[in-house]
Structure formats: C-alpha cells, structure tokens
C-alpha cells in the first residue's frame, strides 16, 4: 500500500521548521503535523517596567490527540462538532512538550493560573491565521512555570491540542502572564 511520509527536522520537542521533504514510501505514516502550525509568545508583566519576554514566536507542537481531534472535526464526525481548542493551561512540569501527551503534566489549577478560556479569539477572514490570547494574573506564588497547552474544555481533562515550553518563570501574587498562540491551518 502506498503511503505518504512527511519528514521534518526538529530542533527539540517543541520546534518545527519548514524544511519539509516529501517522499512516497510503502506503509508509512505522517511523522509531523506540517499543515497545522503555531507560534507562542509568553510575556511576564507585559507593559510594566519589569516586563520579561519568556519566549517570542516560538514554534509549538501539535499533539497526536490534537491532530486526531482536528481530523474528527473535519472528516469523521457524524454529529455536531466539538468545541475549539481555545482554553489555555499552564504547568511547572519540566518534562517538556511531547506529541504523545494526553494531559498537561501537573497542570496548575489554583491561584490565578488555572485553565481559562482565551480572552481574545481572533481570525482574519481570507487568511489561515488565528490568534488566541489570555492574560493570567497570579493570586499567589508560582515557581518555575514553564509550559502551556491548549484544550477543548475549561475543566481539567478534555483533549490537549498544542503544547509549548518557555523559559521557566516564577510569579508572585499580582504578576501577569500573557500567553499568545498564533495558529495556522492549511
């Protein structure tokens, strides 16, 4: 049986690039998620004098479950579709982003950094770009926050769509963390 393999080189777990080579081989599988891409920007205390950019426009990772969810929305659902991947979560877990993750490990659930619906959800008509943004405000101390993910529901659980790591940061009460996902499809 003919299959199509898309091979992309990656700098680390979270990186994708565009040096895609496409070759037809027997019985292969898609190895990376070239059609859905995303970039993450995370800024502590944006607009304040102690602003700190933790990552800017960093390529993220589409999880295997996220890919399956997208495929279900596009092709295989036979009933009404599901909610978009527009809930943003954070964690202090240091294990890194992994396409096989089905949860965000040790997801933060307290003190202002719990999973939340993106405050900004914007798409520009006639383009393939969508932006999600949420500004979290810590109501307690959080140490070494360093990874974010997107989900399709507010409560812990659901399907994880994207993951990205960033420079570990400690937040005190009233510190803000602006998380922006810029996603492309097609």
């Amino acid at each position: 049986m003919w299959g199509l393999q898309i091979t992309m080189s990656c700098d680390d777990h979270t990186a994708q690039n565009d040096s895609a080579s496409v070759e037809a081989i027997f019985g292969s599988a898609i190895k990376d998620n070239a059609v859905v891409k995303g970039y993450v920007t995370i800024i502590k205390n944006e607009g304040k004098k102690d602003e700190q950019v933790l990552c800017r426009n960093k390529p993220n990772l589409l999880t295997n479950n996220g890919r399956d969810y997208a495929i279900a929305q596009f092709y295989t659902n036979t009933t009404a579709g599901g909610v978009g991947m527009n809930f943003i979560a954070l964690t202090s877990d240091s294990s890194g982003a992994d396409a096989t993750d089905t949860t965000l490990p040790s997801e933060i659930t307290t003190n202002g950094l719990e999973r939340a619906l993106a405050t900004t959800i914007s798409h520009s008509t006639g383009t393939n770009s969508t932006t999600l943004n949420k500004i979290f405000t810590a109501s307690g101390t959080h140490t070494a926050v360093q990874m974010s993910g997107t989900f399709n529901q507010l409560a812990v659980g659901g399907t994880i769509g994207h993951e990205a790591t960033f420079v570990a940061v400690t937040l005190s009460s009233s510190d803000t963390l602006s998380v922006t996902w810029t996603l492309t499809l097609g």
């Binding site: 900004t120 914007s122 520009s124 006639g126 770009s129």
Partner: protein, 71 residues
C-alpha cells in the same frame, strides 16, 4: 504557483514563513478580523468584526466596548 509558506493571505496573494513577516504584512493590508476579546479599558468581553490595517504589532485588534467608546 500557490501560496506555499506558513502564513497565508489568500485575499492578497501573500505568504511568509515567520510571524514577524506576517505582522509586517498585516500592517500593510486591510483585512477583516472577527472574534471576541476583552475591552482594553474595562475588560468586558466584546464581540468584534473589525476591518483595517493592523499596526499594533499584534495579530489581532485591540478593541473597546461600546460603553468605553462613547466616553
């Protein structure tokens, strides 16, 4: 040849590979942005459909709610 890079503007036949290039492009062309966001003044949720050149260095417009706009 079709648009073959990461960010694609089908209306203006443009594509690019980096977010910085994309943000530069959004500053030069009028596009319509739809969605919802927090009012930049009071924080209330606002549904918007906004057309224009985006010159704020972001990929979405920053919006005001009706109440704040009228003040």
């Amino acid at each position: 040849m079709g648009l073959d890079k990461t960010f694609k503007d089908f209306v203006n036949d443009f594509s690019c590979d980096t977010l910085d290039q994309w943000i530069e492009h959004l500053a030069t062309v009028e596009l319509t942005y739809t969605g919802n966001s927090a009012c930049v003044t009071c924080g209330d949720n606002v549904e918007f459909s906004w057309t224009g050149k985006l010159k704020n260095g972001k990929t979405y417009p920053q919006v005001l709610c009706g109440g704040c706009k009228s003040q």
